[in-house]
């Protein structure tokens, strides 16, 4: 009947029998039966929360291919730069090991506490020119921070030779009318990075998105753009001007993601006869 059922227990059963033999008081028997029938909560068959583990990898000059294991189980066999592996996982802790795909040699590991069901994003960033250097592990831990502030960092790949030694990058939001979904003609400057050096990850700059009325209304961000100047001369780097007609220098921030607070983008240039083009691609978020 229920957990502490008297009849399950031999001692209780014999007690019942003795009373039964005496036959003095039926009420006692009923009372015992009621006790036997008492209910218990039962033990909940707990199931661990599952979450997505998203391992991203970006290397600039490093051709290494990684083998990833999580809690000693294969997670990804050959992770190339620019690729990511996204897979559901369970467990409140994840021991992530990074090994060389070819040799299986251990490169580095990390232990992540991962309670709940929030997505875990692990970014492997290797900006070293040294092929055997271990990647930096950037982890987006689940956060309760619902403030609309994100952090942005640029890495300028100047293999095209378009960029100067030091670039000033300004991030601008072009506001969008909530009703018409067209640009409303206003703009807000969110941040300026005065000196970003090619081949080196810039510091993170904080972008406050709370003034984005369009995003507040629709969950879609307005249009975020950047402009690039030569930090020394203050002149625009060719292709670094904001052109509303083409929206060429879009930042790449297209979707508000509550769980991602850090964005790393690669800025690169293309020289063309008609002039240069500057592109910016988000390569890691966490």
């Amino acid at each position: 009947m229920c957990g502490t059922g008297a009849l399950k227990d031999g001692t209780h059963l014999s007690t019942l029998l003795i009373i039964f033999k005496n036959m003095r008081n039926i009420k006692i028997l009923f009372f015992l039966l009621m006790l036997a029938a008492c209910n218990k909560e039962g033990v909940l068959k707990e199931q661990p929360d599952a979450k997505i583990l998203w391992v991203k990898y970006f290397a600039v000059n490093n051709p290494a291919t990684y083998r990833i294991t999580v809690n000693n189980k294969p997670f990804g066999d050959s992770l190339l730069t620019g690729q990511s592996i996204r897979r559901p996982m369970t467990g409140d802790q994840m021991h992530i090991e990074i090994k060389d795909h070819h040799t299986g040699a251990f490169i580095r590991d990390t232990l992540i506490s991962s309670p709940g069901n929030k997505e875990i994003v692990v970014s492997l960033l290797n900006l070293s020119n040294n092929g055997s250097a271990s990647p930096e592990i950037l982890i987006a831990a689940p956060t309760e921070d619902t403030g609309k502030t994100i952090n942005w960092s640029f890495y300028i790949d100047n293999s095209s030779g378009v960029f100067p030694d030091s670039a000033e990058i300004k991030i601008v939001r072009l506001n969008v009318d909530v009703n018409t979904w067209d640009l409303d003609g206003t703009a807000d400057t969110l941040a300026t990075l005065p000196s970003v050096k090619p081949g080196k990850l810039s510091n993170f700059v904080s972008l406050d998105l709370s003034g984005d009325k369009f995003m507040e209304a629709t969950t879609y961000p307005a249009i975020y753009m950047y402009q690039v100047k030569d930090a020394r001369t203050g002149l625009f780097v060719p292709g670094g001007e904001i052109d509303i007609s083409t929206l060429g220098t879009v930042l790449g921030y297209n979707m508000y993601e509550e769980s991602y607070k850090h964005y790393i983008s690669i800025m690169s240039g293309i020289k063309e006869p008609a002039g240069s083009i500057i592109l910016n691609s988000v390569v890691l978020t966490y």
Binding site: K8, M23, I26, G42, L44, P88
Partner: protein, 1080 residues
């Protein structure tokens, strides 16, 4: 020989008896005769002369046997103003005679006692007497004889209106003399009364014609009881079998289902359900104390007999053919259970028991969150939030119609979160039963009595289940389990008053059952999302039945016209509260465990909650009058009566699915997905998730078709009948007549519009009139042998559920069950020819041929079997013909060697029936198929049934082995032969050992049921691919659609494990139980 003489020689002995009976009837108006004072002198004359002198002085009536008195002389004595008692003591002191005042009539009799017998009136008599109780019946009719005189020693009693009598006597050996006006006299020897025990004695008396002095027939008690038993059997009006209180008393059975196992022709399934002659539940009917009972089971028309304690049962009669005075709705059998009105003796007993299931012991036992009192049949408030009316369904429908997501979320938060499997650990069977009866003998042979019984039972079992729905799902039985949790609580009370000619009884029965079945299946899905699949389905059912009945029986004047009447009020509530389904898939990168958004949001996916409540009130009234008359020197009877039944039923349902609560998925589904991804069901159903943009409980059904959500019905049946019981010849009896039943049914279906939440009603009415003739002709080939010929027309009506367009989704079966309006009532023409032989006590041998022609029988049919997901619906076949033969026997082994008494206590019994059946339907019009006739059994009908039993019934110990097997039977019929779902035969062997201790006060019973533990298999006669993606039936083409044996199975329609598709396989293990009963 003159048996009695009177001092007034002109009076015949039978007149004396008449006076005796008359005096007995009105004794309460007379003074105490033995205290009457008189003055008399005796001078040594004959005792006869002395008694005549006393009789004259006192003006009292004396009765005695002249042969007993002839050789005695009176003493010389004078009594002056002395009480008659003192005078008679003095007169009879030196004789072996005793005297007794029986209602003012002085009986002088020879004392009958064994040498060892003690005087019942002496101070040395034992403190705990025994008793003799039984019944006096007429040998010709088997009917009870009221007013029969039963004398033992110097004591005498009369039988009551039911023929019952009872003595309390000290232990010893006795002889009883039983007589009745117009009947012979029997002297029954070998009556042995033991302390605290009741000796059962049933006596049949033969009617005497024109004989002034009765002939005394002598026989032993054992032989006489035997004779009486088969007298009743062979004199029943119709073909029937049954068991009496006397027979039940000697068995260790403690509930009615166990008792029913002992009746030939019945198969008891799952320790509680009964089938008769292999016909399924649809074609059996159950009456309790004469009132038809609603089903105790959901979606089944069946009655769980284990709810009635055997100690409350007076008798059970199973009619296999109809008579006009019986309810007409049966074809297999009418099982009439009658509880005790007036107990023969006071009794109190208590039973406590336990038991285990071998497949469950020591294993985790899972279920959803339980209420505190589920063990007693009461679901907790967390499960009854909808059925108890606390959830405003009307408001919720309005909010849904208006798209008010805030309000829907707010109300969704009030729905308790009962998801989440919990391990409670397997608990053994626990059952307890208390029953008591008290009898108060009042003046003037009036009796007041009451009986009370209460019982509680709880049992659990685990079933290993394998299910295969080709191309859709496969669940392996290595992991998949069904956890069945059942509790029952019952009470029964009756209060009766009885006089010589009147009887009034009030009875009340309450039964409550809770069954919670949790299926936890593991396997693969290839349907919505191909992946590993875990399917959980918890079906909680709570039934409460309350039956009140007032009945009366009256003998009107000297005409012996019998009037009986009854009124019943039955209330049944069947709730299916908070049924939860959790369909869990393997996690994928973009897909969580459960489907919370899809195109339809129907009940067949994701996390669902289904609620249903069914209420039925049934009122009925019956009156019957039986008029006996004599014609051509033979007794006949005419009986007529009227019955009225009204049923008011109301069903409400509401299905929910935990579903995304957003307006536009492109905006909000991302957030919902992230918030809910990877969480188990019990976390998703937490109130904090019930928010706009996250989740809510969406009102849903099984599909988008506008089916009925609620339905209510009214049924009125007026029935009247006339029947005659005619003794056409001395050995030829005809019981026949006609019953008229007018049935009116009105069914109102309510569908709630999705857009507005407003109800839309649809009303259907049915009105049918059925003339139902029946005739039972019995010819006595000898005193122990009959041949019977019977015809009857009976009914199998469609019920509310079957006629409603309501669509029920059976999640375990992945099947939709549709009602169908326009269903006609089925009628059945039954014909039986039976030879029966009653060789001895409780022994019977019979051979029957029977024919049943069904018109418009209702079946559950499926035509949509594209691989696994089914749609079943109720359907009228055009007809069905069934021919069968039944063989039945119950025989003691005492005939083998008479000196071995123990052999006579061993009974061997068996019943076998074979049937050939075919069905006919208007396939083209009704199913869009091409064939109108199929040689297949009717739904639920087995082509054969075997029952066998071997039992030893000793005074101290008993052993009983029962075997049964019924042939493959269709549980869901298909439009095409390969779609027929067959239940494979199982050999079921039950063993029962019983013993009595503590001067027979303690009974111990040990049962093992289903010793062979063969699996339950549901199969179809077609081969199937292994359970892999895209697997399906093999060899099915348009050309062979009507081939009943597509897979060329050498075993034909029988199950072939190598070839046939197995839809379900369940393994239950064995059940063992131990019960102790103490009789106070």
């Amino acid at each position: 020989m003159k048996f009695f003489i009177r001092t007034k020689p002109t009076m015949r002995w039978w007149k004396g008896l008449l006076v005796l009976i008359f005096a007995t009837a009105f004794s309460n108006v007379q003074a105490q005769p033995l205290s009457k004072k008189l003055t008399v002198s005796f001078s040594g004359e004959d005792l006869l002369t002395a008694l005549q002198k006393v009789e004259k002085i006192t003006e009292l009536d004396f009765a005695f046997n002249a042969s007993n008195i002839d050789h005695y002389k009176a003493p010389v004595a004078t009594y002056t103003d002395k009480p008659l008692e003192q005078v008679l003591k003095g007169l009879l002191r030196q004789t072996a005679l005793t005297f007794k005042d029986v209602n003012g009539y002085i009986i002088i009799n020879k004392e009958v006692r064994s040498p060892a017998q003690k005087d019942p009136g002496s101070s040395t008599a034992p403190k705990d007497p025994g008793s003799i109780a039984g019944k006096v019946i007429a040998e010709e009719s088997g009917l009870p004889l009221m007013g029969a005189s039963i004398r033992i020693g110097n004591r005498s009693v009369s039988s009551d209106v039911n023929g019952y009598f009872k003595f309390r006597l000290p232990a010893g050996d006795y002889t009883a003399i039983v007589s009745h006006i117009g009947y012979g006299t029997k002297e029954i020897t070998d009556i042995t009364v033991k302390e605290n025990q009741e000796f059962a004695l049933t006596v049949s008396l033969k009617r005497q014609k024109n004989e002034l002095a009765g002939v005394t027939v002598r026989g032993s008690a054992k032989k006489e009881s035997a004779a009486a038993l088969y007298t009743r059997q062979k004199n029943s009006a119709a073909i029937s079998d049954g068991i009496s209180a006397e027979q039940i008393r000697v068995t260790p059975d403690n509930n009615t289902a166990q008792v029913l196992k002992r009746i030939s022709g019945l198969t008891v399934q799952d320790e509680k359900f009964v089938t008769v002659r292999g016909l399924s539940e649809r074609y059996n009917n159950v009456t309790l104390n004469g009132a038809s009972l609603p089903s105790t089971e959901p979606n089944r028309r069946n009655f769980a007999f284990d709810i009635i304690p055997s100690s409350m049962v007076d008798n059970i009669v199973v009619n296999k053919t109809a008579t006009p005075d019986l309810p007409a709705e049966f074809a297999g059998g009418l099982i009439q259970v009658n509880t005790r009105n007036v107990p023969n003796e006071n009794y109190t007993n208590i039973t406590i028991g336990t038991g285990i299931n071998t497949n469950s012991t020591g294993k985790p036992f899972y279920g959803l969150k339980r209420g505190q009192y589920e063990a007693f049949g009461f679901a907790g408030k967390e499960r009854t939030w909808w059925t108890d009316g606390n959830f405003d369904a009307k408001a919720y429908r309005a909010y849904a119609g208006a798209g008010n997501r805030e309000k829907m979320a707010e109300m969704s938060r009030t729905i308790p979160n009962t998801f989440g499997m919990r391990d409670y650990g397997y608990q053994p069977v626990q059952n307890m039963q208390i029953a008591m009866g008290r009898r108060f003998d009042l003046k003037n042979n009036q009796v007041m009595a009451f009986s009370l019984a209460a019982s509680t039972r709880h049992e659990e079992n685990i079933v290993n289940e394998r299910r295969h729905y080709p191309a859709y799902y496969y669940y392996s039985d290595s992991l998949s389990r069904a956890y069945n949790y059942n509790s029952a609580l019952g009470g029964l009370a009756s209060l009766a008053w009885q006089s010589k000619v009147h009887k009034l009884v009030f009875k009340s029965l309450y039964n409550r059952r809770l069954s919670s079945s949790t299926t936890d299946s593991y396997g693969a899905s290839w349907a919505t999302r191909p992946s590993a699949h875990n399917f959980m389905n918890n079906v909680l059912l709570v039934n409460a039945l309350w039956h009140n009945r007032l009945e009366g029986e009256h003998l009107l004047g000297k005409t012996k016209i019998k009037l009986d009447w009854s009124g019943d009020l039955i209330q049944l509530q069947k709730d299916q509260p908070d049924n939860r389904v959790s369909s869990k898939y393997e996690l994928a990168e973009t897909d969580s465990y459960y489907i919370l958004t899809d195109a339809n949001g129907f009940l067949s996916e994701g996390l669902t909650v289904f609620n249903a409540t069914f209420n039925e009130k049934k009122k009925s009234a019956n009156v019957n009058i039986t008029i006996p008359f004599t014609l051509l020197g033979r007794e006949h009877k005419i009986k007529t009566g009227y019955a009225f039944n009204r049923r008011d039923a109301f069903t409400e349902t509401m299905g929910f699915r935990l579903y995304w609560n957003g307006n536009s998925p492109q905006y909000e589904s991302g957030a919902m997905y992230k918030a809910t991804y990877g969480l188990p069901d019990y976390k998703l159903a937490q109130p904090e998730f019930m928010q706009p943009g996250l989740l809510h409980y969406k009102i849903t059904s099984i599909n988008g078709i506008n089916a009925t959500d609620d339905y209510s019905g009214i049924q009125r049946i007026h029935a009247g009948y006339v029947m005659a019981d005619l003794k056409l010849l001395e050995k030829l009896r005809l019981v026949g007549g006609v019953r008229l039943e007018e049935n009116y049914m009105r069914l109102t279906g309510t569908t709630y519009q999705v857009a507005t939440g407003n109800p839309v009603d649809s009303i259907l009415t049915y009105n049918t009139v059925n003339w139902l003739p029946s005739a039972n002709l019995t010819y006595n080939l000898s005193s122990k042998m009959n041949i019977r010929l019977a015809y009857s027309k009976t009914l199998a009506r469609a019920d509310f559920r079957e006629r409603s367009t309501y669509r029920y989704y059976d999640a375990n079966e992945k099947t939709i069950i549709n009602g169908a309006f326009g269903l006609k009532d089925g009628t059945i023409d039954n014909a039986d020819l039976r030879w029966e032989f009653y060789p001895g006590a409780g022994e019977v041998m019979s051979l029957s041929l029977f024919y049943k022609k069904f018109k418009d029988p209702v079946e559950l049919v499926t035509i949509d079997n594209s691989g696994g997901s089914l749609t079943n619906f109720y359907f009228n076949l055009a007809g069905s013909e069934n021919k069968g033969i039944e063989w039945d026997f119950r025989k003691s082994l005492g005939f083998i060697y008479h000196d071995w008494n123990w052999l006579s206590r061993i009974f061997i019994s068996g019943n076998a029936s074979w049937m050939k059946s075919e069905v006919e339907f208007d396939a083209a019009a009704q199913l869009g198929l091409g064939s109108n006739k199929r040689e297949r059994p009717l739904l639920g009908l087995s082509p054969y049934t075997y029952n066998g039993g071997l039992g030893y019934f000793g005074d101290r110990a008993g052993l009983n082995i029962n075997y049964n097997r019924y042939g493959r039977r269709i549980i869901v019929a298909g439009g095409f032969p390969y779609q027929d779902q067959y239940e494979n035969p199982r050999d079921v062997l039950d063993l029962q050992i019983s013993a009595r201790f503590l001067k027979n006060k303690l009974e111990v019973r040990f049962n093992i049921s289903d010793l062979l533990q063969q699996p339950v298999i549901i199969y179809q006669n077609i081969s199937v691919d292994p359970p892999v993606a895209n697997g399906n039936f093999i060899g099915r083409t348009a050309d062979n659609a009507y081939d009943p044996n597509i897979n060329k199975d050498p075993k034909g329609l029988n199950y072939n494990k190598d070839l046939d598709y197995v839809r379900y396989r369940g393994f239950k293990g064995r059940n063992t139980s131990l019960n102790l009963t103490y009789n106070f």
